[in-house]
């Protein structure tokens, strides 16, 4: 609400009254506008929140039965019978996420540091920035089909975790570069001055001063992008594949499809699983499996978001007062 809007309008000053300007009416009008804006904006936000909350509650409520069912979370998926689980998919989703981050975070850090600190302010840099922005809005199905043609077929990796991770990297890097670059550019000028005036090189300044200061924002950005990667389906359908061989956690033969750590095995993730059972599933309980999977996926992503805030805050606090 507008503060102080209840105050009586001051009497019109003589000079403005002489010019026919009614101060009291003007104050009434701008206060009314402010109130109207508050109401309209609150309604818009309320409407959006309502829709989001409804979706979240619906997904969680539909899948609630399976969400806490350990047999479902760790079990083996079924092709034709009911009672299938999502054990391999759950593991695949996390494994793929970790691999994707292992590849995309170092690349993004390097690129962002270069763009924020080293790149000369010229046409080439401007073009590179535009390209990165374009890449970040590339539809994920396009990334997926490119990955299919190039990594799966041309390089002969087959449907594999590594093909999926590289495809996800392609669409994660542009987002991460932007987030990290922004975080570095938001470091106050005074910090940069302090470092440079002490005779630190650009590299020392970046590593010892800018990165630590920007770290809360960087970590938050990475975790949020992890949420997106975790829920991605289109880019994975044709790269990591749609089959989830049962995993044997005692198997360390990196060439075996049952070895969880083998990066050349096909690996269906949670999001792809939802897509697959809904489009071609024949199990009798496909709705329950699909709802349960969706709920698990949603809970994971909510957890990522909460984690992002928590870690960001903790880092921030550690920096300002240990």
């Amino acid at each position: 609400m507008a503060k102080g809007s209840g105050n009586a309008a001051p009497a019109p000053a003589s000079a403005s009254a002489a010019r026919g300007f009614d101060m009291a009416a003007h104050v009434r009008r701008i206060n009314a506008q402010d109130k109207a804006a508050t109401v309209v904006l609150t309604l818009i936000v309320g409407f959006v929140l309502l829709i989001l909350a409804a979706i979240v509650v619906y997904v969680l409520a539909s899948g609630a039965g399976k969400l806490f069912d350990l047999g479902f979370l760790t079990g083996k998926p079924q092709q034709f019978k009911e009672g299938g689980g999502i054990g391999p998919q759950l593991f695949n989703s996390f494994y793929l996420l970790v691999l994707t981050l292992l590849i995309s975070v170092p690349i993004s850090l390097g690129a962002a540091i270069f763009l924020a600190e080293y790149a000369p302010d010229n046409r080439a840099t401007a073009i590179a920035k535009t390209l990165i922005e374009t890449l970040s809005s590339l539809p994920s199905i396009v990334v997926g089909l490119f990955g299919f043609l190039f990594f799966v077929l041309y390089l002969g990796w087959g449907f594999s975790i590594i093909a999926g991770a590289v495809a996800l990297t392609m669409f994660n890097v542009p987002i991460l570069v932007r987030v990290i670059q922004q975080a570095l550019e938001n470091v106050p000028r005074t910090q940069r001055d302090a470092a440079l005036a002490m005779g630190l090189t650009r590299w020392e300044t970046t590593i010892h001063v800018l990165l630590p200061v920007a770290m809360p924002a960087i970590v938050t950005g990475i975790v949020l992008s992890a949420g997106r990667v975790f829920g991605e389906a289109a880019a994975l359908i044709f790269t990591a594949g749609q089959s989830a061989p049962m995993l044997d956690f005692t198997n360390f033969d990196l060439s075996s499809p049952a070895c969880p750590w083998n990066v050349f095995r096909p690996a269906e993730t949670l999001a792809v699983h939802i897509w697959k059972i809904n489009s071609e599933g024949v199990v009798p309980d496909l709705e329950a499996v699909s709802n349960g999977t969706a709920a698990v996926l949603l809970v994971c992503i909510l957890a990522f978001n909460l984690l992002a805030r928590l870690v960001g805050k903790l880092l921030e606090r550690r920096m300002t007062s240990e």
Binding site: A194, A197, M198, G199, E204, T320, S321
Partner: protein, 246 residues
């Protein structure tokens, strides 16, 4: 001693310094005064080559510190010998101890005992030791603005610079902190050359042995502070001091 010889500097097409010649004596406080945009900060930032980071900068003439041409030196080496304190306190997001040891640790390995000694010495020189001695491991960002500024001074002192450049070091501070920093300038100048840019003419009279008045990129007048304030030789100096412009 800092000798500035016919020094000119341009930002793009704008000439910010128009041929400055000036001797800044060793182990004294010299104040640069003048209205905004007169070039005093620009000259200060040329002395440790912080001007290098501004796009489109060009300069002519020379600046030498103890006979060494600053523009022929390695800038990072130069900035270790020529410390700088800024208008806004800017400690690193590290503990108070690590802030001070940051500079020394870059140059050599510092043992725990030696580190403690450097921390205590620098903090004592900056008049801050008694206030923070129990929280050396807390963040340098967690203390008051005036304390942060003295921490920045201590950080600069830890590498034992010959010259300390101060760019309006008290303009963001309260009167009590300002007083402390001013006392500090006087004591620091016993062993090093201090150059301070200030908007506050009273500050110049309180701390500076010599004062230089800049106007529109020129050095109008330079001399012992007492003489410059009581008996300015140039009309523009007199007009500025009596508040007729600026």
């Amino acid at each position: 001693m800092i000798s500035v010889e016919n020094f000119k500097l341009w930002y793009g097409d704008f000439q910010a310094l128009k041929g400055i010649t000036l001797e800044v004596p060793k182990n004294q406080v010299t104040a640069f005064i003048g209205p905004s945009g007169c070039g005093k900060s620009t000259l200060l930032r040329a002395m440790n080559r912080m001007c290098d980071f501004v796009g489109g900068v060009r300069h002519e003439g020379s600046i030498a510190i103890d006979g060494r041409d600053v523009f022929a030196s390695d800038p990072n080496e130069l900035r270790v010998a020529v410390g700088m304190v800024f208008q806004h306190p800017n400690p690193f997001p590290l503990s108070i101890r690590d802030n001070i040891l940051y500079g020394p640790r870059r140059m050599r390995r510092i043992s725990k005992a030696e580190g403690d000694e450097i921390v205590e010495c620098s903090l004592r020189d900056a008049g801050l030791f008694d206030e923070v001695k129990d929280k050396l491991d807390q963040s340098g960002l967690g203390i008051s603005g005036g304390q942060q500024q003295r921490l920045c001074i201590a950080r600069a002192l830890a590498v034992d610079p010959q010259v300390l450049l101060m760019d309006e070091p008290t303009s963001a501070l309260d009167p009590i902190s300002t007083g402390l920093v001013e006392e500090l300038m006087l004591s620091l100048a016993r062993e090093r050359t201090v150059v301070v840019v200030t908007h506050n003419m009273q500050q110049a009279t309180r701390v500076a042995d010599r004062t230089a008045f800049f106007y529109l990129g020129e050095l109008v007048e330079e001399g012992p502070t007492k003489r410059l304030f009581s008996d300015p030789r140039e009309q523009r100096t007199q007009e500025y001091l009596t508040g007729r412009f600026g």
